[in-house]
């Protein structure tokens, strides 16, 4: 790879007529193929169309395009026009439009988008945005925008430089405060060089990838749209995320049919395949050519990956294909990879020591947990672990992970305050907890209180705010947290809310309604399923002396059975025992002093 920008990388493959992207739109039809050459021409036309709409160098362009090939045309078209693309996830469900519009309004406003490109289906929903987003001039459909220019149109007079901002990656989850991770071409090219290089997964022109990841998320966009053109790979197949969720076997079948060598997915996707895919769906499936099954974007559970490897070994899957990695949007995409073809490795540590922030090797006869090895930091990048005082920590000491190097973002778009908070002495603070053994990273928690379910981040503040809106809940007296649950293979999400005290059938009925409404609001507004709502009498939730809610303390109390005794639903002793034994609850409990706002 020699290009300095993605625009240059795209131009370098512009003559490839037989290799490119394929899009699986319907399960029963063959994928639709778009060669790099076709895509180059379409992106050029799209760039010209954006210029015709008045888009100038540095302008932000919102992209709300459910169709993966239109989305790719537009994100590359924006780059060729010198504009900054802002990918926004399309609406998924009619029932959630209000929350969707609120989130989209915030993102467009924060990014300062002047133009939005969308499609015919989504456009009617977006009508209100014209008045609610200052500075938004045009909402246009992809088809109508392109119709304004000829098929051979090209953008005029744009030179894209390595230091130009390539696009903004808005972090998911927070409805009230979206943050636009600002990445330059140089950032992306540095990360892509590391991902595919000799210390990475060694991508070649023979590589074939399959992905169902959403393209508005960093792993799908950078990993499977940008990286392939830089390495001029043979082919990439995109499956719609919804199709994967409906029928996970489509992913495995396509890996087999495309003879794919590379795929990536969050931990939950491997778990979903193990539980949902039936043998009858796998006739003829052969996974033996797959040599990179990347796993990232959410905490990795050793047991989930092992179960997948066992379940699909008869179909040729090799556990050496698993490639646990650590990454985050603020670092372009990836940070550490394990060695290619190494077998899945976990560090067995003493549970009790881990609670004290020391990752001591397990002792015979004492509780232990397996922490997945995520490998080494990329060449040319730096990673360190710091203690609470911000000082570098030693081997096997649990602390916050900090990063430095060419993949680190420029900051959050138009947000100097939170950009400043994200850095510490020139290092990017990740908010994640981990420890090093011989230079290999083991991730074991978050110092931020994020709830991560199915690869998506939820800010507890958002969940708490939604719950606070429900009648009967004492406003501001709600704590939301997630605890790792070994049986679910994901976090168990708890909302603990204080309600007015009282007894009797009428109060029970009112509480049941409150409980239902909290669950419903979280689903509607945030698309988050709450596993348990714990209703408590006033004064039950732990607070600091200054009155701030203590989330990790609440999680600890819940895990030890102290929260909601006699008030919550029937005792779930088995579950509580599981939770108490999980490393997440221990680690969170050991960090009780560290609370966000």
């Amino acid at each position: 790879m020699t290009s300095a920008t993605l625009s240059a990388a795209l131009e370098a493959v512009a003559h490839r007529e037989t290799t490119g992207y394929s899009h699986l739109l319907h399960e029963k039809e063959p994928p639709r193929f778009v060669s790099y050459a076709q895509m180059w021409r379409r992106a050029q036309r799209c760039a010209a169309a954006l210029q015709a709409m008045g888009v100038r160098r540095g302008d932000r362009v919102g992209l709300i395009l459910p169709d993966s090939s239109e989305f790719i045309d537009c994100i590359f078209g924006s780059m060729l026009a010198g504009a900054i693309a802002v990918p926004i996830y399309p609406p998924m469900n009619l029932g959630q439009f209000d929350a969707y519009l609120a989130n989209t309004t915030h993102i467009l406003g924060q990014a300062g988008c002047s133009v939005v490109v969308t499609d015919n289906k989504v456009r009617p929903i977006l009508g209100k945005l014209m008045t609610s987003v200052p500075g938004l001039r045009v909402i246009e459909t992809y088809a109508a925008a392109l119709a304004n220019v000829s098929e051979t149109a090209e953008p005029a007079g744009v030179v894209v430089k390595a230091d130009d901002v390539a696009f903004l990656q808005f972090t998911s989850g927070s409805t009230s405060r979206p943050k636009g991770v600002t990445l330059t071409h140089a950032n992306l090219m540095a990360n892509i060089a590391a991902i595919g290089g000799g210390a990475g997964i060694q991508i070649s022109r023979e590589s074939v990838g399959v992905s169902w990841l959403p393209l508005y998320h960093d792993m799908g966009l950078i990993g499977f749209v940008f990286t392939p053109i830089v390495y001029d790979v043979k082919g990439i197949l995109f499956i719609s995320p919804l199709m994967f969720l409906k029928r996970p076997s489509v992913w495995l079948r396509q890996l087999s049919e495309q003879k794919a060598s590379i795929t990536f997915a969050p931990n939950f996707a491997y778990g979903l395949c193990t539980t949902r895919v039936k043998d009858s769906e796998l006739t003829g499936v052969d996974l033996s050519q797959l040599h990179v099954a990347g796993c990232g974007a959410e905490p990795i559970q050793y047991g989930t990956l092992r179960a997948f490897a066992d379940r699909f070994a008869p179909y040729g899957f090799r556990s050496t294909a698993f490639l646990p990695c650590y990454g985050m949007a603020e670092h372009s995409l990836a940070i550490t990879f394990v060695e290619l073809h190494a077998d899945l490795k976990a560090d067995r540590v003493d549970t009790e020591a881990l609670a004290g922030r020391s990752a001591a090797p397990a002792r015979e006869g004492f509780p232990a947990v397996d922490v997945v090895n995520c490998g080494r930091v990329f060449p040319g990048h730096e990673l360190r672990i710091v203690d609470d005082a911000g000082q570098p920590a030693g081997e096997r000491v649990v602390g916050e992970i900090e990063l430095k190097g060419p993949s680190v973002m420029q900051g959050y778009w138009n947000d100097p305050e939170r950009t400043a908070e994200a850095f510490h002495d020139g290092w990017l603070r990740t908010g994640d907890l981990g420890y090093l053994v011989d230079g290999e990273l083991h991730v074991c928690g978050r110092s931020k209180d994020l709830i991560i379910v199915h690869g998506r981040n939820y800010h507890p503040q958002d969940v708490e705010w939604q719950a606070s809106q429900v009648e009967g809940v004492r406003r501001g007296n709600v704590i939301a947290f997630g605890l790792h649950h070994p049986d679910l293979g994901r976090e168990y999400v708890v909302v603990a809310a204080e309600v007015r005290a009282g007894e009797g059938a009428a109060v029970d009925a009112a509480n049941e309604t409150t409980r239902r409404q909290i669950e419903t609001r979280a689903l509607e507004a945030l698309a988050l399923k709450i596993d348990e709502v714990v209703l408590l009498p006033p004064g039950s939730l732990p607070k600091t002396s200054s009155g701030k809610l203590q989330r990790s303390k609440a999680a600890q109390m819940y895990a030890s059975g102290e929260l909601g005794k006699g008030v919550g639903p029937a005792s779930k002793l088995g579950l509580l025992k599981h939770l108490a034994a999980s490393r997440w609850s221990f680690i969170k409990a050991s960090l009780g002093g560290r609370e966000s706002e």
Binding site: K28, N93, Q96, L272, R276, E524, A527
Partner: protein, 95 residues
């Protein structure tokens, strides 16, 4: 061709009710009707909704295109989408 007994609206709806009874017991207290909304009334998350759809597909031997699901809110909507696809597959005219 006409709609077969197997793929009639009532039949599909009955299959959905049966499915929910078997798989979503946590909400047994709620009266499930054709008007029940998947998210608000039944408390299904997106993964559970999709699992229900794929199980329906298997039991009826059909494939439901993803775009039909943009407009689904209630069980009634699901049943209508299924019937529509089932009859399209047979080359029948949609009534």
């Amino acid at each position: 061709m006409t709609i077969t007994a197997e793929h009639s609206y009532d039949n599909v709806l009955a299959k959905i009710f049966q499915y929910l009874e078997e798989h979503a017991s946590e909400r047994a207290a709620v009266d499930v009707t054709a008007k029940s909304r998947l998210i608000q009334d039944l408390g299904l998350d997106s993964l559970q909704s999709f699992e229900m759809v794929s199980d329906l597909e298997d039991s009826l031997g059909i494939t439901i295109p993803m775009d039909l699901f943009q407009d689904v809110e209630t069980l009634e909507d699901v049943a209508r989408a299924v019937v529509r696809v089932a009859n399209d597959d047979r080359g029948a005219q949609v009534v």
